[in-house]
Symmetry: C3
Amino acid sequence: MTALSPHPDRLLPADPGTREVARGLYAAVADAPIYSPHGHVDAGMLLEDEPFDDPAALLITPDHYVVRLLHAVGVPLERLGLRHVENSEGAGAPGSGREIWRALCEHWDVFLGTPVRYWFESEFAGVFGLTEAPSAVTADALYDQLVDTLSRPEFRPRALFDRFNIAVLATTDDPADDLSAHLALRDDPTFTGRVVPTFRADRYMHPLEPTWRGRLDALSAAANIDCGNHAGLLDALRSRRAYFKAAGGTATDTGTIDAGSEPLADADAERIHREALAGTITQADADAYRRTMLYRLAEMSAEDGLVMQLHAGVIRNHHRPTFDAFGPDTGHDLPAAGGYTVPLTPILRDFGVNPTFRIVLFTVDETLFSREIAPLAGFYPSVFAGAPWWFLDSPAGIARYRAAVTDSAGFAKTSGFIDDTRAYCSIPARHDMSRRLDAGYLASLVTTHQLSEDDALTLAHRLVADIPVSTFRL
Amino acid sequence: MTALSPHPDRLLPADPGTREVARGLYAAVADAPIYSPHGHVDAGMLLEDEPFDDPAALLITPDHYVVRLLHAVGVPLERLGLRHVENSEGAGAPGSGREIWRALCEHWDVFLGTPVRYWFESEFAGVFGLTEAPSAVTADALYDQLVDTLSRPEFRPRALFDRFNIAVLATTDDPADDLSAHLALRDDPTFTGRVVPTFRADRYMHPLEPTWRGRLDALSAAANIDCGNHAGLLDALRSRRAYFKAAGGTATDTGTIDAGSEPLADADAERIHREALAGTITQADADAYRRTMLYRLAEMSAEDGLVMQLHAGVIRNHHRPTFDAFGPDTGHDLPAAGGYTVPLTPILRDFGVNPTFRIVLFTVDETLFSREIAPLAGFYPSVFAGAPWWFLDSPAGIARYRAAVTDSAGFAKTSGFIDDTRAYCSIPARHDMSRRLDAGYLASLVTTHQLSEDDALTLAHRLVADIPVSTFRL
Amino acid sequence: MTALSPHPDRLLPADPGTREVARGLYAAVADAPIYSPHGHVDAGMLLEDEPFDDPAALLITPDHYVVRLLHAVGVPLERLGLRHVENSEGAGAPGSGREIWRALCEHWDVFLGTPVRYWFESEFAGVFGLTEAPSAVTADALYDQLVDTLSRPEFRPRALFDRFNIAVLATTDDPADDLSAHLALRDDPTFTGRVVPTFRADRYMHPLEPTWRGRLDALSAAANIDCGNHAGLLDALRSRRAYFKAAGGTATDTGTIDAGSEPLADADAERIHREALAGTITQADADAYRRTMLYRLAEMSAEDGLVMQLHAGVIRNHHRPTFDAFGPDTGHDLPAAGGYTVPLTPILRDFGVNPTFRIVLFTVDETLFSREIAPLAGFYPSVFAGAPWWFLDSPAGIARYRAAVTDSAGFAKTSGFIDDTRAYCSIPARHDMSRRLDAGYLASLVTTHQLSEDDALTLAHRLVADIPVSTFRL
């Protein structure tokens, strides 16, 4: 059996002199409160504050980072708790949590060298107090220990929220959501945390999707505005943005296959909207509709000041048979070759120097960091370089991001770290990783005399506090 | 004169602590047998086991890595032993080997900092026992020494095979090849090595090529199946794959300009096949034919389990005048901007989770490592991330590959090192380079506490043995 | 207040052993003369040799690296001395220089970690003798000190030219320029420097530009050849190239959105030329015209031996409202996704192995370094890999360039450092940065035993002298 004991100096630079500087910088911010301006935790979980009952359902099944690599080495998705679409409402077989956990433990060496293993080790040791590494031999004992641990009051969601020292947690929410959980949390005198919604209108941008019409109905009801035409949809979205803002929201989020943003004339948008409802829309018109919607969302941000987050360039559901069997978010969303400078031209032309407008650009195509995102952030007051995302959210990816972005955008035009996670208990490990890596990057600038130690310390503090607070208008 | 004495610590990390760890990891695998699952050595050379008679013909002329950079600084291809197409059957002028060798020695400083020089230094010292660096002054003496050395029995191909400690050597072969050399080697009790063929059907995929029809005839004869129609061609290829498999083959290889793989309906494929034979095919149809062929080759791999290697994204024969004068493989094949995720969709949709199917993806566009290849290998059980190839097969390129691929694919979904060489005597130097670099990469994870020293040692062993054996089903 | 004291070891590698080697290499070339084969200094400034009167006009307003990042954090361009197009001939308001300087000082921390701050620190301390860092507190005192310093005779342009130890300074000039400043400098016995013109014909390549016709008139007058037809334009350019060459020019420069170079038949080019003059040209024809012009410029280089520099892949004037208000070169030129291998095919097919022809390829899309530029330079005798440019001209960018280019192109096929600057007083700091970084890169090859210390020293010398002199035929 192997001990699980993450090293206090983990991720700090190997060179002893640089490590010494990095240690000091990291120590200064290691315990600072966490700002999490973008993620996928469920506000209802915090409201209800029920104990987590199954380690696998908490740690494995919903985390596509974990599921995908296990699948890649031959573990069927069923064995990991994913349910076939047709019986997605049914319960898993009894005991399946333990089997899922065993699958992880048996394949623990598959994760060697990956950020998933790094996060898990920090989380298992730091949050749950495990002292032995997962393996086929230790699987059952660790599972029992986790079940026992999760049943204790200090492992309920709210207790963890306090222990994680989360200052602000942003969720991601549909415009039709009534945000009842957020409002209840805000009004609950026993909960002192801050949980803010994020307005994500993706589902209204794709009129070819079979679910589009149903979404319009839900939104019409939520906003009490008829979305049967394009102007109505825009009005409803505006109304819901105001509702989100009143509920504490400061930002929106959009994910698209590309960043095209050419606005349509009203008559053209209305025609496509009508044809979409009639079921006669073409793919080209659907694309044009998505792009005009992106433009209109930017226009709304220029009006109401909600910070626009843009995550362009993901091919969703690449493996059609898996999508048909298990539905979306099952590990086969994949990066596309991207671009921002050309497709964002309409938005930046009209709102790029508008002081109310703000847009944070994320990518899974790292060639954009030095070629597009940093140069855009280095001219447009409205543009910020988003932290490395998804496939790039790793020690090596973050190092490449800093090296590629700082030249043109400095630190002031970057977003600060984003955990973007559904894995609630991994939040401290992810932010801690970022703090260690930034300490190492700043230390490397210090030991090569590109930065004074005082300036590095100032930046280390800003990166965990001022920068996310300011960028996301928290 | 400068001594030629490669340093025992070459390529290991500069940081003393990391180097110490890397030394231990490297020492553990430095003498492990070589698995070479992809390369271009001639099996006939091993069968005949004739002494190499000319150092230049062995070391320079056939190695386009060497030829291209000498050409780039102004050495005409003729001077390097390349022959004009019209007299390609004629012998070189007497004494030309020495002159070619002199050209290399006189331009030795051109290779400073390149992997070619690194390989040559390891090979000259380690294989041939040279003790002085090439230069205009030493050229003749070194040439004489090499000629003398090559005439000795221990420098014949089979003796070197043993000395190189090659466990498996894969060649690259045309489907019409009778594999007589492979079969004779297998049946030769005096040769204990394992030399396996690789099925490469590229020449049958390009119906616009003037040589296509002749190739069909040769294949028809080899398979005893008429390739006059598309179904016949596919049957013949299936038959020859079985023949290759029976002769010890475990893999195929395909090189294409892109990875498009949309299958055609049988009738469409037959029409294009007919028109190609009639000489009336269009470029668009030729492209469609190439893509359906790629799909069919994947389909065959899903049936017979031969591991599919895919090398997409090379622009062949960029400089037309050089091609016209000297033919193909003369140093001006160049990387194209690539992509796998979108064009491979048909193959991965139909065979991506099929346990018999396996595909190893290689690229000369390194932006694909983190954006496409690692994410694909991190979901699809069938997909493996191929080692850095050709222009990327260097210390710096390999370091970038590991840093870009490990996050999403770990180590288990990578291919292991591939030497891909025609330069037989460089094989030990190339694998040794890879072992040093992997030791350094693993050591850097150890000293930053992302990996334990035990795990690093396990991985170092796997990378040179289990991983290539398993990936290529050796 | 913070002291301004750039560290003697700045930018050298952190690892102590590597730093020690790098120190020696850097020391050997630190004081070598500067070859600046590409830049934007005004020859007239050197001819007139007037004192610089305003620090802001010297250091801030014309430097778009500085202006763009200040703009990105909210400083209006007006406040930085940029003038609205309609009153661009008018003088700035009195005292504006001090206010611009204050804007820089107040936002000094925005530049932390960027090359702009690095250059400024070297320049402020090394050229102007400032001892305190810019800040809101020190702004006025520093401004006064700079004004005083600039009034001293040793800070006039020619005195600085000597002090900077510039061996050759290349400017960038319009073909219609009479080069009177260059000729006067050459004939001035009191000026011993060498200032050579560079022929930049961009303005004649874009027949849709409103200024095109006016440019033709100016060129017709300068060359005394009618540019009313395409053949006349080509003749006029040929004539002016000869004029530039006679005035000491050794190179040309071209900036285009892409590297397309397909030549048109004469009749087609003449037709487009006519339609452009008539105002009836299409965008597609304008693009075809630009591409044939690129081909013709290469053809001329193959005749007259002027070294062709190609800077493809910049989207000019991305933010239209800023362009309308302030004109070009105001910080919103942005990198485009690029490519050389395919679009340059016509030029390389016809001139790629022509010993008179030479082309240096620059990019702001760093994916091209390992995928296109180094592989092209590693085969074609005519192709050289240009130094990192613009957004990539930074410590991190230069490190990535060396790591990406050396494998395929070595050092001999690279251009040597290019400062490409309008900021005259930053020239020593920029070349010094390059020398430090190359020393560090070479040292890292030494400590990993890929290069001997002797070879590293030879290369360090070549990189600052032989290589630029030879590449640019100085």
